[in-house]
């Protein structure tokens, strides 16, 4: 996969498959500490310790349609090659947390990619799930919770064209807004102007 946002989509699909009702996805770019953290937290069916130990094995999968499961092993490898790591905590019947961390400036860290499309795809295709999307860059935060939107729509589909436009623009603008003013290059240039 070429984007961290695609990995997030993939990991969130595990939560959907685990029948989660509530899924929280967070991305935090801490520029000062030079870390990029991502997490997917769900209240799905969870896994026992033995299963958690096996999910990073590419030759383990809960799926029956093919015999390999590459999602989590790929992401773990990507993180470890960037001075980072992946942690999975899970409790049967309670849910699963996947947390992954990268050195943000590492030359091998793949780009975050199209986070807005990942959020929108998950929301539209799974409107019955309560989604909580969070994106933080240097303390600037975008947060989107799906439940107030679903309540306001009162049965009208997310894929009605005008509703879709509303949601896409809301999420795209939210993600873009967090990136605005967040880059250290920008604050440096402000300083140099002052000088």
């Amino acid at each position: 996969m070429r984007e961290l946002a695609l990995h997030l989509l993939d990991i969130a699909e595990n939560s959907v498959a685990a029948n989660a009702q509530n899924i929280t996805i967070s991305v935090n770019e801490d520029i000062q500490a030079d870390r990029l953290q991502m997490s997917v937290i769900d209240d799905g069916r969870g896994m026992d310790e033995a299963t958690v130990a096996r999910v990073i094995d590419p030759f383990f999968t809960s799926r029956t349609t093919r015999k390999v499961g590459l999602g989590l092993p790929f992401l773990k490898q990507a993180a470890e090659s960037c001075n980072g790591d992946m942690q999975i905590h899970s409790t049967p019947g309670k849910g699963t947390q996947v947390k992954v961390e990268f050195q943000r400036s590492n030359i091998d860290r793949m780009p975050l990619g199209d986070l807005a499309s990942t959020f929108l795809s998950l929301l539209i295709a799974n409107p019955e799930i309560n989604w909580d999307f969070n994106y933080v860059v240097a303390g600037r935060e975008f947060k989107f919770e799906s439940s107030p939107v679903i309540q306001a729509l009162a049965g009208v589909s997310l894929t009605e064209p005008s509703i879709l436009t509303y949601l896409r623009e809301l999420i795209e603008a939210g993600v873009a807004d967090v990136l605005l003013d967040a880059s250290p290059e920008k604050s440096n240039s402000t300083k140099s102007v002052r000088r």
Binding site: R63, T65, P148, L153, V156, D177
Partner: protein, 122 residues
């Protein structure tokens, strides 16, 4: 803080959508299913999904349900998109690039003509 959209805006859009639906009677609901397993995502399922949603917006297509499924065991044919119209049998498409996704929407979902060159016989 420029483009904050309120839930009030959303409620107004909801009312308008309901009005339009009254005018256009649904002629057999269309369901579009995107396969979102690891194989599908790696092959470009999100781009197919985006092209489907973009077409709904640009062509103002109402009454279409867009949903997802996991890996269906045809990883080498990903990205896979399935279309069900009314009570007709499900059609499975393979190698769905954004371009193919737009054709599926405009030809199959809107006009009812199956895009034969991308059908996977299942």
């Amino acid at each position: 803080m420029a483009s904050i959209k309120s839930l009030e805006d959303l409620k107004r859009l909801r009312e308008e959508a309901l009005e339009k639906r009254k005018v256009k009677s649904a002629s057999g609901q269309a369901q579009v299913i995107v396969a979102m397993g690891t194989c599908g995502i790696a092959a470009g399922a999100r781009d197919a999904m985006k092209a489907i949603l973009d077409t709904i917006e640009s062509e103002s297509l109402t009454g279409i349900v867009v949903t997802q499924t996991g890996c269906i065991g045809l990883c080498e044919r990903e990205p896979i998109v399935q279309v069900v119209i009314g009570d007709q049998p499900k059609i499975t498409y393979g190698k769905v690039t954004p371009e193919v996704a737009r054709r599926i929407m405009n030809e199959h979902v809107v006009k009812g003509n199956i895009v034969q060159d991308h059908v996977i016989p299942v």
